[in-house]
C-alpha cells in the first residue's frame, strides 16, 4: 500500500464519488453555521423548495454581530439585529441546534466547535468562514466555504471539490520562553508568504508543534488561511484524545473506544510524500509583530520596520510603501518604539483559556499605560469566560485596567460596535491586519496575547521576555 499523508487519509475516507478529472463529491460530517454567511443560503433552500439533508450535522451560533458589552437590551444596530434574528429564525424553522446570544455556550464558532466536541478527529468540517482551518488542529479536514457552498452542504451534505496539494511545514526543535503558537505561525507566514500555501492543505508537524497544547495548535491552524492554505492539519496524539474526551458532543463508552482506535491512524505515514516541504528552526523564532497591511509583513520584536528601498521587486516595494503610508510608519523605525492606542485580546485565533491566562500573567501587578485608551479582553465563548472567572483571571485583568467583555468576534473584524477609529493603532491578537479590518482607517499590529498584554502595560511594543 502506498504511504499516505494525513490529508490523503482524511480526503479518501470522505469521497462519495470521483470523476476521471478528479472532480470529487466529498462528504461533510459537520457543518458550523453563523449569522453572516448563512441567510442567503437558507433563502436559496426555501426558494428551491429543498430540505436539509441531515439536520443534526449542523450546529449554529451567533458571533460576528453580537455586542460584547451588556446584552440585556439586545442589539442596538438594526442591521446587526436583523442578521442575528434571521439566524435564530432559520435555525428554528429548519430544526438546527443553535447557541443563541444569551445561551451560556454561545461563542465564536471556531471556539465552540472544539469546545463542545462538535469537532472530532477524522471529520470533514466546513463553515462559511475562512478561519474554519482552526479545527484541523484536532486532526480533522476543515476548511472555509462561501455561501453557495453553505447552501450546497445544507441540502446535500456534500461539496464538489478537487483535491489540494500536500504541504508539510515542520517546525523542529523547541521554542524559547515567551514564544507562543502565534509567534510560530507568524514566523511561518513570514517564511512562505500569504500565498505560500495556495492550492495546498498544510500539515504542521515537528517538535515545536507537538509541544503545543491543543489550543495552541488551533492558533497555528487558524492562520493557515493567512498563508493561503484553505486547510491546516495536525496529526492526532494523546493530547488530542485527552482534549476531546468527555465533551458534550463527543462519543461515549463503547463508541468512544471504537473512535479512539480509529483515530490512531490519523497521522501521515512514515514515507508519505509531500508536494512541498518547508522547515523552520523553532529556536530562531522570537516574538513577532506585524508592521504592515498583510500578515506576511511581519518581523521579530527586536527588528526595525523594513525599508522598501531595500526591496528589489518593484511591485513588492510599492506594496511596502503603500503599507507604510497606511500604517503611518517610517522605514527603519525600531518596532519597540511604536506606541499604541488600543489593545484587543480575543478572536478565533487567540481567545481560549490559555490565551487569557497568558494575558493575565503579564497583567498581574501591572497597569495599562496611560496612553492606551482601551485594552479589552474578549473571551472566545461563554464557557471560557466562566472558566476564566473561576480562575480569577477577570479580576487580575480588570485590576490592571483591562475591560472584560462578553464573547464574540468583536474587534477582530469590527462588525459590532467594537472598532478602531480612523488613525488609531492597535496591538491585536487577531489574524488579519488588512486596511480597515478593525475599523476604517484603523492600524492593526498582530501579536500574541502575551505580547499584546505587554504592549498594553508598556504603551508601546516591547519584548515580553524583557518586561520589567
Amino acid at each position: 500500500m502506498t504511504a499516505k499523508t494525513l490529508y490523503d487519509k482524511l480526503w479518501d475516507a470522505h469521497v462519495v464519488r470521483a470523476d476521471e478529472d478528479g472532480t470529487t463529491l466529498l462528504y461533510i460530517d459537520r457543518h458550523l453555521v453563523h449569522e453572516v454567511t448563512s441567510p442567503q443560503a437558507f433563502e436559496g433552500i426555501r426558494m428551491a423548495d429543498r430540505k436539509l439533508w441531515r439536520t443534526n450535522a449542523n450546529l449554529a451560533t451567533v458571533d460576528h454581530n453580537v455586542p460584547t458589552t451588556d446584552r440585556s437590551k439586545g442589539i442596538t444596530d438594526p442591521f446587526s439585529r436583523l442578521q442575528v434574528e434571521t439566524l435564530d429564525q432559520n435555525c428554528k424553522d429548519f430544526g438546527i441546534t443553535e447557541f443563541a446570544m444569551n445561551d451560556p455556550r454561545q461563542g465564536i464558532v471556531h471556539v465552540i466547535g472544539p469546545e463542545q466536541g462538535a469537532t472530532l478527529p477524522g471529520m470533514t468540517l466546513v463553515c462559511g468562514d475562512s478561519h474554519t482551518s482552526t479545527h484541523g488542529a484536532l486532526g480533522a479536514l476543515a476548511f472555509g466555504i462561501g455561501t453557495s457552498e453553505v447552501e450546497h452542504v445544507l441540502s446535500t451534505q456534500c461539496l464538489i471539490q478537487k483535491k489540494s496539494k500536500n504541504m508539510l511545514v515542520r517546525v523542529d526543535g523547541q521554542v524559547g520562553n515567551g514564544v507562543t503558537a502565534k509567534d510560530i505561525v507568524l514566523a511561518i507566514i513570514a517564511e512562505i508568504g500569504t500565498a505560500g500555501g495556495t492550492g495546498c492543505a498544510i500539515e504542521f508537524a515537528g517538535d515545536a508543534i507537538r509541544d503545543l497544547s491543543v489550543e495552541g495548535r488551533m492558533t497555528v491552524c487558524n492562520m493557515a488561511i493567512e498563508a493561503g492554505a484553505r486547510a491546516g492539519i495536525i496529526a492526532v496524539d494523546d493530547k488530542t484524545i485527552d482534549y476531546v474526551k468527555g465533551r458534550p458532543f463527543a462519543p461515549t463508552s463503547e463508541l468512544w473506544n471504537k473512535a479512539v482506535s480509529a483515530w490512531a491512524d490519523l497521522h501521515s505515514d512514515k514515507n508519505a510524500s509531500f508536494d512541498h516541504v518547508v522547515q523552520l528552526n523553532a529556536k530562531e523564532i522570537k516574538p513577532q509583530v506585524t508592521w504592515g497591511t498583510s500578515p506576511e509583513m511581519v518581523v521579530s520584536i527586536d527588528a526595525n520596520v523594513p525599508d522598501p528601498a531595500n526591496e528589489s521587486d518593484p511591485v513588492k516595494s510599492e506594496g511596502m510603501q503603500a503599507a507604510l503610508r497606511y500604517m503611518d510608519l517610517q522605514a527603519n523605525k525600531p518596532i519597540n518604539e511604536i506606541y499604541i492606542d488600543k489593545v484587543f485580546i480575543g478572536s478565533c485565533t487567540n481567545s481560549r483559556i490559555e490565551d487569557i491566562r497568558a494575558a493575565a500573567q503579564v497583567a498581574k501587578g501591572r497597569k495599562v499605560a496611560s496612553n492606551v485608551k482601551l485594552a479589552m479582553v474578549v473571551p472566545g465563548s461563554g464557557l471560557i469566560k466562566k472558566q476564566a472567572e473561576d480562575e480569577g483571571l477577570d479580576k487580575i485583568l480588570i485590576k490592571a485596567g483591562f475591560e472584560w467583555r462578553e464573547p464574540g468576534c468583536s474587534m477582530c473584524l469590527a462588525m459590532n460596535a467594537d472598532r478602531l477609529e480612523s488613525g488609531e493603532r492597535c496591538a491585536s491578537t487577531s489574524n488579519r491586519n488588512f486596511e480597515g479590518r478593525q475599523g476604517q482607517g484603523g492600524r492593526t499590529h498582530l501579536v500574541s496575547p502575551a505580547m499584546a498584554a505587554a504592549a498594553a502595560v508598556a504603551g508601546h511594543f516591547v519584548d515580553v521576555r524583557e518586561l520589567d
Binding site: 441567510p39 429543498r50 460576528h64 457552498e149 450546497h152 500569504t194
Partner: protein, 225 residues
C-alpha cells in the same frame, strides 16, 4: 446561474497585490441578508472619501477621484486586471456578489486565493490566471492606450477604454492588437459556467451514491452520525 458567454469588455487596471476581500467589500456591508445590492459598496474604502455605512445614499457620497473605478472611462468596466493573490482573506461570497453587481464578469491576475477563486465560479464570474509577464504586458498596454486617449491631461471620454475579448469556450483572450492569449480553466467549472449549471442540482443527481456512502460510513464510524 447566468451562463457565461463570449464577450468584450473594458479593462480596469487595479495595480495592487494581495487585494483582500475586506477591501473588496468591507464588513459593515455584510450585515445584509440579501444576495444583491453590493455593487455601490464595491471597494468602498478606496472608492469614497467618507466612511461608508449600510443604508447610506451612495450617490450623495464624496468619491475619491484617484481610484481607478471612479475614472469615467472605467465606469462600464467588466474586466478587472490585478496583481497576485487577489481575493485573499475572508470567505465572504459578498466579494464576488459585489464585483458582479458592479458589472465585473472577468478578473485577470497572476494568482487568486483559493476560496475566492472557487466562489467566483458559483456566481458566473470568471477568474483568469495568467503569468506575471503577460499581466505586466496587459498593464502596460492599458497604460499606453490611456495615454493615447488622454488629451491635455483630460480624458477623451468619447473613446472607450482598452478592451479585451474573452472566449471561455476556446479559453482565449484577444487583445486590441489581435494577439491571442490562452488560459487554463478546470473542465468541470468551465462546463458549469458555459451552461449556467446549478451545483446543487448536479449533486442531487447522485442521491443514491450519497446514501450508499452514508450507509457504509455509518458502519465504519458510527460516532459521526
Amino acid at each position: 446561474m447566468k451562463k457565461f458567454e463570449t464577450f468584450r469588455g473594458i479593462v480596469a487596471p487595479l495595480d495592487r497585490s494581495n487585494v483582500d476581500t475586506d477591501a473588496i467589500i468591507p464588513k459593515q456591508f455584510l450585515k445584509s441578508i440579501k444576495r444583491s445590492g453590493f455593487g455601490p459598496n464595491l471597494f468602498d474604502a478606496w472608492r469614497y472619501l467618507d466612511n461608508g455605512e449600510p443604508g447610506m445614499d451612495n450617490s450623495q457620497r464624496p468619491v475619491n477621484p484617484d481610484f481607478v473605478l471612479n475614472q469615467s472611462r472605467y465606469k462600464n468596466a467588466s474586466v478587472l486586471l490585478a496583481r497576485k493573490n487577489f481575493g485573499c482573506g475572508s470567505s465572504r461570497e459578498h466579494a464576488p456578489w459585489a464585483l458582479q453587481d458592479f458589472g465585473i464578469r472577468v478578473i485577470i491576475a497572476p494568482s487568486f486565493a483559493d476560496i475566492f477563486y472557487n466562489n467566483c465560479f458559483k456566481n458566473g464570474l470568471l477568474p483568469v490566471v495568467l503569468e506575471d509577464a503577460v499581466i505586466d504586458t496587459l498593464f502596460n498596454e492599458v497604460a499606453a492606450f490611456n495615454e493615447i486617449t488622454t488629451f491635455n491631461k483630460k480624458e477623451v471620454t468619447a473613446l472607450p477604454g482598452y478592451q479585451l475579448e474573452i472566449d471561455l469556450k476556446t479559453q482565449s483572450i484577444k487583445t486590441p492588437s489581435g494577439a491571442v492569449i490562452s488560459f487554463d480553466v478546470d473542465a468541470f467549472r468551465k462546463d458549469c459556467l458555459l451552461h449556467g449549471l446549478d451545483d446543487i442540482g448536479l449533486t442531487l443527481q447522485h442521491v443514491e451514491e450519497i446514501k450508499a456512502y452514508e450507509h457504509r460510513r455509518q458502519q465504519e464510524a458510527p460516532w459521526l452520525f
